[in-house]
Symmetry: C2
């Protein structure tokens, strides 16, 4: 479809209307009586229903995609990319733009080839096919998955300019799967018996195997063996056909292409939970087993990739908040770098271990802002400042940075990643 | 990545294990100690993180797509296609496989070209740009959208063989948008005043314009001017950049590419609400203004496109239920064509005007079943049989068939669309 002369006429017509007014009274133009041509999109046919059996975003949204940062990792096989959270709204993350983290790349594994073994300290070691898994009772839950290294570059100061890059190693989907508890019971684990000191060791079918240890209490509580996300099959890059879901805990434990679950009498102390995914403290010692993602939030708009383009007057400040320990109960927003705070509106009451969308419907006077958000969860925890975190943990950390993020918004509406003390 | 000799070895190994047992005790195989080769997917690299900036489903899921039925409409421009609900689980419908219904095709309209006019009986007729809309307070809601003609072919008996085709003109997404009420107030409508007899007439920017009248009470209640679905921009085929959301009411009123909202002192009696989208009764008279989609449900698995392939023993029967008048409170499932019923498990408590997933975790003895589901909503309404509907409305209808669906499942696990009386 051509957007030729008629389009230009229409735009000129619209621009001839009353200019946009500042303030709450009117944020639109009065109709222009001079528009006489029919626009091309109103005078011809569009696409038929068989044009795109599986649809993609419209070409105008080509920039709303996952992006990696080349200098962050040595190669793109063992690397990460970032969800374009600056351009999304609501809470659900479409699979197509949900961040990826691979240790040896996203593998292709068919349902026919898929097997899941449960072994170790169980009465009946078992191997499940994909079809077997479909015969157990399923649950549906919306959960966020956040990489432990999300915001990791912020330990050393404001380095990446954009919410996608500082906070985009997170996604939020509706999972369908079988409780891990059900499969462990199927393998003869006596979940009513004494399981103190028992763990599960979980690993994936990719070359990295990415093995992790999970205490039995968590394994039996809410972990899911998931095969659908947002209604459809998991995408290849999210673990097709089956991944582990570990609600609220760091994404590295959400084993993709999960192939084996071993019941053990202690943690495995694997590479992924010793040399990696531990927190190096001030004194150089490493803190391990820091699985839960603490309460955190970020303003997604305005932000460096989503500047204010409309001038003074009504402004919607929006962002995301989450907690791996429960539900978000409140989010405050500051325009002055944390001196004063206003409580934001939650789009819905916070849900356990799921993203919560917040809005602050406000006015912008055109002056510089130091925008921050501060999340609170139902354990009573309040998101700390970056400096509060550094006080306890020093500057050696990579993981678990849930400090308050600051965007400097200047008079032209542009934003950048800054630090305030 | 090649699936060569190693794959065959692995499959042969697995098949050598203990055969699948019937019954609840074990639904998997014991591990096979003979697997010695490393599978190809575990011995090489997969895709890097920059392989697919916006991802698509894995190739093994190529059949999980929207499909149209060629003989249903004269052409594919003014036509429909169907969501593959037989292959989905949970409740969210990804935009890429959510059904489409166009009257003159899916048009391409940029945000820069987009305008929304509010005119008619308002104090201040206004034209909004896309950027204007982003300055008003937003809401997030998950709602189903069902075409009035969904299951329409079932009036004349079981004709289409598959849940995708009988019930697939429905999708369920998380919308972000501005309440229509807010924009009407911005145009000076006194929503506290006497609005009796007032309507809005809404139309789209496509050639069909698809104009519909909506009573003011509904317009002010819960209608949304939406610009995101499942977190991201609306897809072209779902009305990019802006569509109307009319919760619980027939999909034809959910105007895509919405360009104009006129406040009127009565309904417009447009083509789309007189010659179309009215219900021709037994006596030939037409019933109009039947907007709400009554409570309805369907078993999505097993179903003709999702047969039972695993033999006797544990079986998960699953499906969807919804009501345009409120929340689903209960779904019953029958295996004997409605003689006896068991109450299914709802994955979550029903939410207002959103899809509800139900499961019946049961055993299959390998005998023939006449599978049905029956939804109830919080108004006390119980989904009727097709015959009960026909008794009231005769056989002239196309729209609003919410009768109970029956799948005949035979001893081999295959299913077909049948009628029971």
């Amino acid at each position: 479809m051509s957007n030729g002369p008629s389009r230009r006429t229409f735009l000129r017509g619209a621009a001839a209307g009353t200019a946009l007014l500042a303030g709450t009274a009117a944020r639109a133009q009065t109709p222009d009586p001079l528009i006489t041509e029919v626009q091309p999109w109103a005078s011809g046919f569009g696409d038929p229903v068989d044009a795109h059996p599986y649809g993609m975003p419209i070409r105008f949204e080509d920039d709303v995609v996952r992006r990696n940062v080349e200098w962050l990792t040595a190669d793109t096989i063992s690397s990460i990319n970032f969800t374009p959270i600056h351009a999304l709204d609501g809470t659900i993350t479409p699979q197509g733009c949900a961040f990826e983290r691979h240790h040896s790349g996203a593998i292709e594994l068919s349902k026919a080839d898929y097997r899941l073994m449960i072994n170790g300290l169980v009465d009946r070691p078992l191997v499940f096919t994909y079809a077997d898994l479909e015969r157990f009772p399923r649950e549906n839950h919306v959960y966020f998955c956040e990489c432990a290294a999300n915001s990791g570059m912020e330990w050393a100061g404001a380095q990446l300019n954009g919410a996608q890059f500082t906070h985009g190693m997170i996604h939020n989907m509706e999972y369908t799967g079988v409780p891990l508890r059900t499969l462990l019971e199927e393998a003869g684990l006596d979940t009513a018996g004494d399981l103190s000191g028992k763990w599960v060791y979980v690993e994936g079918a990719d070359a990295s195997s990415n093995g992790r240890s999970i205490p039995m209490e968590k394994a039996l509580d809410d972990c899911l063996i998931a095969f659908k996300a947002n209604g459809e099959a998991l995408r290849k890059e999210h673990g097709y056909p089956v991944r582990l879901v570990v609600p609220g805990w760091e994404g590295n434990m959400w084993i993709k292409w999960i192939r084996r679950i071993e019941v053990t009498d202690g943690p495995m102390e694997s590479r992924e939970e010793t040399s990696k995914y531990t927190d190096v403290m001030k004194d150089g010692s490493a803190r391990k087993w820091t699985w839960a993602m603490d309460a955190k939030s970020v303003v997604t708009s305005p932000s460096p990739q989503a500047p204010i383009t409309h001038g003074k007057g009504p402004l919607v400040i929006s962002g995301l908040a989450w907690s791996g320990r429960g539900a978000i109960t409140r989010v405050d927003v500051s325009k002055d770098g944390g001196k004063t705070w206003q409580t934001a509106r939650l789009a819905k009451p916070g849900e356990k271990m799921a993203l919560t969308r917040f809005y602050l419907d406000t006015e912008w006077d055109g002056e510089q802002m130091l925008l921050q958000s501060r999340a609170m969860d139902d354990t009573g925890y309040v998101q700390p400042t970056k400096d509060q975190l550094r006080e306890v943990r020093g500057l050696n950390s990579v993981y678990h940075n849930n400090g308050i993020q600051t965007w400097l918004v200047n008079a032209s509406g542009e934003a950048e990643n800054v630090e305030v003390s």
